[in-house]
């Protein structure tokens, strides 16, 4: 064992450049693995983590004030199966002016004393919590997403007597039980009870609600039934089930899951391949040495121990450095992602994860070393000493013959010949370079694809440029105004129906009418419905939920009316951006005759390409008190997409950097293996410039091959990962996009980087002492 240990020490310290390069590869791989696992950890069950950390309520009950008393609330809290409650909470619906947009909000009270046992605490994402007796407000994070409301700004709220009061926003918060869908809740503003009383002194106008934390989180329906049995009929007007909120949260984050998940999986794959190919090719390059060691008496086991030992030592140095680097880098892309997922960022520093990274890297090193070392240990000693890992190909490569015939310089021919003569070594080098290209393509494609979604929100189901809502103004007048509005090319109106299946599954349907053909609805399957028919298109979430497919019929009760249910035929599927995709879109004229007294309240606009947004806003909202309210689509795009783009940009950048380090590294290693041949060629009169030219030719051609193979491979891999993940998360088909300019730039870039990677070792080789090489013989 002493001999093995001596040899390990000699190999590790005696070839400092090789040891450094292998360690550098391990550092890069460990960094990538840390980032990959940190990403997967931070996007794993974000809602569940927040819910757990905030001691979320499993059931939220909204009461009819006339049918409940304070003592009823105490009786509810004492019911079996309930382990905690928020206490009675009050709310008032009001309008506020945020910047120059009027928004309906729910002004809600929150406790001033908050401790670990408080049920359904708020997650402070920015700013601070309320302080007692100050007239100040916490805003739901959604108001920041939709209206860019920031901490430190003021909002103007209409008081009970119609007067306007300015409130300062002191924090942005996330409430784990806020769900816009099931209860059509407006965004929340949170105040102290004292502030609510100052704004709306008559507490008989306050809504009552309570959040309950259950012993068994799945027993929501049972507990609800017990509460309803305890109270007068219809005392509970609405309720929120935490599972529904969770479903909405997951749906809202699916873009994150798809893209960041893809990064995570690719990065793990890249980690394995980078280590395996680098160490594999390094061991193969030492076959001659293995032959000599066997000749002097090293056993099979000692050979394995020798190589596994030396690479594990390098792993023990490189992996912790990579881990630390990953820990340092991970907040850059992942902190904002965690914020956009309404959860807290978790650094990858817990013991199991650190163990997994260090153990994983060591395991990969072990496997990557064992196979080629085992092959070397079993190889014929004489052959291993004479020719190394593989005999040169006896049949010349056609490229070499062609280059010779074309009269290309001998340095070019020698460079080409070096690739073809040892295909296994060239393959390993090429594999590493290709991995680099695939990594670059992956990063670029993720960014390109995300940019496509950002630039074309229609792919996410946002087919309009602006949304207008009306209050008192009539439907007809609103339509007239929109027809005359400057820069409005087309519009359609929408009435949101509450529908229910005969089995009691409730959801919403968009009943639309207008210039629908002017809007780029993305029908992923089937076709769009014909106007004034009982045809419908459905979101994928709805089809999945109800177990339906395009072509099926759906029998629905509309708006709780006791009339005969309506049968809709589902003729297509579209990307529904909200409500977990559980929406139906139907023709308004077909249903309007069944719904007397209601009219659409929302209008979706398509604007002229160079629309003057300020002029249009002024036209539709001439005064702060105007009846119409307009929101442009830039404001409707969730910040999550922007955060995700930043994260993917950062992660892609790190991936590309690591890929480039790998390319550089591979070139360095490949040249290092050729030092002996270079020495011989120099004795024959090869000049330093010719040495550099030869080395550059090999690197450049391998870079070209890697680019040609890596670009389609990277695209196919990206497409594959994104398709699988998007299907798993119910996102639908992803339109993978890669800018052709990047591809055309990538080919020369790869050649250039490979050549740059070989210039330093090429120069080293050119300076190599011939005498030293000959002495080493």
């Amino acid at each position: 064992m002493d001999a093995v240990w001596c040899k390990i020490k000699a190999d590790v310290t005696g070839r400092p450049l090789i040891s450094f390069l292998i360690t550098l590869t391990i550092v890069a791989a460990a960094t990538l693995l840390t980032l990959a696992l940190a990403t997967l950890m931070n996007i794993a069950a974000p809602y569940d983590r927040s819910f757990q950390e905030l001691n979320g309520a499993h059931l939220w009950l909204y009461f009819d004030r006339d049918k409940v008393h304070a003592r009823d609330i105490q009786r509810i809290a004492a019911l079996p199966g309930i382990i905690g409650d928020t206490g009675l909470q009050y709310d008032v619906r009001s309008r506020v002016l945020i910047h120059d947009t009027r928004v309906w909000i729910s002004l809600r009270t929150v406790p001033m004393e908050v401790g670990p046992a408080t049920v359904n605490r708020l997650l402070i994402q920015e700013g601070r919590y309320l302080t007692s007796h100050q007239v100040e407000v916490l805003a739901s994070k959604d108001l920041n997403d939709l209206h860019h409301l920031a901490v430190g700004e003021t909002i103007r709220i209409t008081r009970w007597d119609g007067k306007k009061v300015d409130l300062s926003v002191i924090g942005l918060v996330y409430n784990p039980m806020w769900d816009t869908y099931r209860n059509t809740q407006p965004p929340y503003l949170y105040v102290s009870e004292a502030t609510l009383r100052r704004l709306f002194p008559d507490d008989s106008t306050w809504g009552w609600s309570i959040g309950l934390r259950l012993q068994d989180p799945t027993a929501v329906d049972e507990v609800l039934a017990r509460v309803e049995a305890l109270l007068r009929p219809d005392a509970v007007t609405a309720h929120t089930d935490w599972r529904d909120v969770r479903e909405s949260a997951i749906f809202g984050a699916q873009l994150n899951f798809v893209f960041l998940g893809a990064f995570g999986f690719f990065a793990i794959l890249a980690t394995i391949l980078v280590i395996a190919s680098n160490i594999g090719s390094s061991v193969l390059a030492q076959f001659r040495q293995i032959g000599i060691l066997k000749a002097i008496g090293f056993t099979h086991r000692q050979i394995l121990t020798l190589y596994v030992g030396q690479y594990l030592i390098l792993g023990l140095i490189g992996a912790p450095i990579g881990l630390l680097l990953g820990i340092v880098l991970s907040p850059l892309p992942l902190k904002s992602v965690a914020a956009s997922l309404s959860t807290t960022y978790h650094p990858p520093v817990n013991a199991p994860l650190v163990g997994l990274i260090l153990g994983g890297i060591s395991g990969i090193i072990l496997l990557a070393t064992l196979r080629p070392a085992h092959r070397g240990a079993r190889a014929n000693i004489v052959q291993a000493m004479a020719i190394g890992a593989e005999a040169p190909r006896s049949k010349p490569f056609w490229g070499v013959q062609l280059a010779t015939r074309l009269g290309l310089p001998i340095t070019f021919v020698l460079g080409l010949n070096d690739i073809s003569a040892r295909p296994l070594r060239a393959f390993m080098t090429g594999l590493n370079l290709t991995l680099g290209v695939v990594g670059v393509i992956f990063g670029l494609t993720l960014n390109g694809t995300l940019k496509t979604y950002e630039e074309n929100p229609a792919l996410l189901g946002i087919v309009y440029d602006a949304v207008v809502t009306r209050e008192a103004m009539s439907h007809n007048r609103t339509q007239g105004l929109l027809r005359r509005a400057p820069d409005v090319d087309a519009f359609y109106s929408e009435y949101l129906l509450q529908v229910e299946t005969l089995q009691g599954q409730k959801f919403q349907a968009r009943a639309v009418e207008g210039d629908l053909e002017a809007f780029p609805f993305q029908i992923s399957r089937g076709r769009f419905f014909r106007p004034n028919t009982y045809e419908a298109v459905a979101g994928q979430g709805l089809l999945d939920w109800l177990g339906l497919t395009v072509g099926d019929e759906l029998l629905l009760i509309v708006d709780d009316r006791e009339e005969r249910p309506i049968t809709w035929q589902i003729v297509g599927q579209y990307p529904e951006p909200v409500n977990a995709g559980q929406m139906l879109m139907v023709s308004w004229p077909a249903i309007a005759r069944r719904l007397e007294g209601v009219q659409p309240r929302t209008y979706f606009l398509k604007l002229a390409p160079d629309a003057n947004i300020t002029r249009l806003k002024h036209y539709l909202e001439p005064r702060p008190e105007s009846d119409l309210n307009v929101i442009f689509v830039e404001q409707a795009l969730p910040d999550a997409v922007v955060y995700l783009q930043v994260a993917i940009f950062a992660l892609g950048g790190i991936l590309i950097t690591i890929a480039m380090v790998n390319v550089f590294n591979t070139s360095l290693l490949a040249v290092q293996e050729k030092i002996r041949v270079v020495g011989v060629l120099k004795t024959l009169g090869m000049t330093p410039a010719q040495v550099v030219a030869m080395v550059n030719t090999t690197a450049g051609v391998l870079g070209l091959v890697a680019a040609v193979v890596g670009v389609p491979l990277g695209l196919a891999l990206t497409q594959g990962i994104l398709t699988v993940l998007s299907r798993d998360y119910g996102f639908g088909r992803v339109q993978v996009t890669l800018n052709p300019l990047y591809v055309s730039l990538l080919v020369p870039t790869m050649i250039f980087v490979s050549m740059i990677g070989s210039i330093i070792p090429g120069r080293r080789a050119a300076r190599v002492s011939i005498v030293q090489v000959l002495r080493n013989e």
């Binding site: 004479a386 020719i387 005999a391 040169p392 006896s394 010349p396 009269g407 310089p409 001998i410 020698l414 010949n417 070096d418 003569a421 040892r422 041949v677 011989v680 060629l681 120099k682 004795t683 024959l684 009169g685 090869m686 000049t687 330093p688 410039a689 010719q690 050119a766 300076r767 002492s769 011939i770 005498v771 000959l774 013989e777």
Partner: protein, 242 residues
């Protein structure tokens, strides 16, 4: 008399850690064109170092080396490379053929590095040399497919492809069996008789006896010389010198 090789007060010192080791300590010698000279000496006497300096593979610490009028000690790396390819042919103990090139390409290589314009002439010359050395039938093979003797003959062909003014051979028979060694020496002698200047470094008195002159080195200094021809006397002198 005009000498092809002139070495004056040549020194070469290697620095190994803090210790300076003098491999050559003031060697002066000359070789006339068409001559054949063998250098003998015990291991570590500086034979190979002297050969490397005359071949422009290494730079002296002091003194001068002039070959065919080229003052090697004053030339840069690129000039030395061009000098080697045009004026020097090397034959090594371990052949040093490029193992991923065929025999024919190995032989052509120095000529292609020097001038790739007249490929037909280069091919003809390489084929002729391989023919002359008896390995023409191995032209399409790779070095590792050949015996040691065949590989050394290929190496000689490669060394001669550019018609060098000086052929340097470092233990050319050291890695060969006796029969192959003799064949290689016969070939070198034949080329010398045709006018090729040869400087050979060897331990082998029989090999040295083929040269017209034998120089003896010890501890980096020239300690004597004698005419070639008699292997026994040379061996005796080597023992005395050692």
């Amino acid at each position: 008399m005009n000498h092809l090789v002139e070495v004056a007060d040549l020194t070469k010192t290697y620095q190994i850690g803090d210790v300076a080791f003098g491999a050559l300590r003031g060697v002066s010698m000359a070789i006339a064109a068409g001559d054949s000279v063998a250098i003998m000496g015990p291991s570590g006497s500086g034979k190979s170092t002297l050969l490397h300096l005359i071949g422009g593979l290494d730079r002296p610490t002091g003194g001068s080396v002039t070959v065919d009028g080229y003052r090697l000690h004053m030339m840069d790396e690129t000039a030395l490379a061009k000098f080697r390819r045009a004026h020097i042919g090397f034959v090594f103990q371990f052949f040093n053929l490029v193992d991923n090139l065929t025999v024919l390409t190995n032989v052509e290589l120095p000529a292609l590095l020097a001038d790739r314009r007249d490929k037909k002439r280069i091919r003809r010359r390489a084929t002729d040399l391989l023919e002359k050395l008896g390995v023409a039938d191995q032209a399409g093979k790779y070095p590792w497919e050949l015996s040691g003797g065949q590989q050394q003959r290929v190496a000689i062909a490669r060394a001669l492809i550019n018609r060098p003014t000086l052929l340097l051979a470092d233990e050319p028979t050291g890695n060969l069996d006796s029969a192959s060694g003799h064949q290689v020496l016969d070939i070198l002698s034949e080329f010398n008789q045709q006018g090729q200047t040869i400087l050979i470094v060897t331990h082998d008195a029989v090999a040295a006896a083929r040269a017209r002159r034998v120089l003896f080195l010890r501890d980096g200094r020239l300690v004597g010389h004698m005419p070639g021809g008699d292997a026994r006397r040379i061996a005796q002198r080597l023992t005395d010198a050692g």
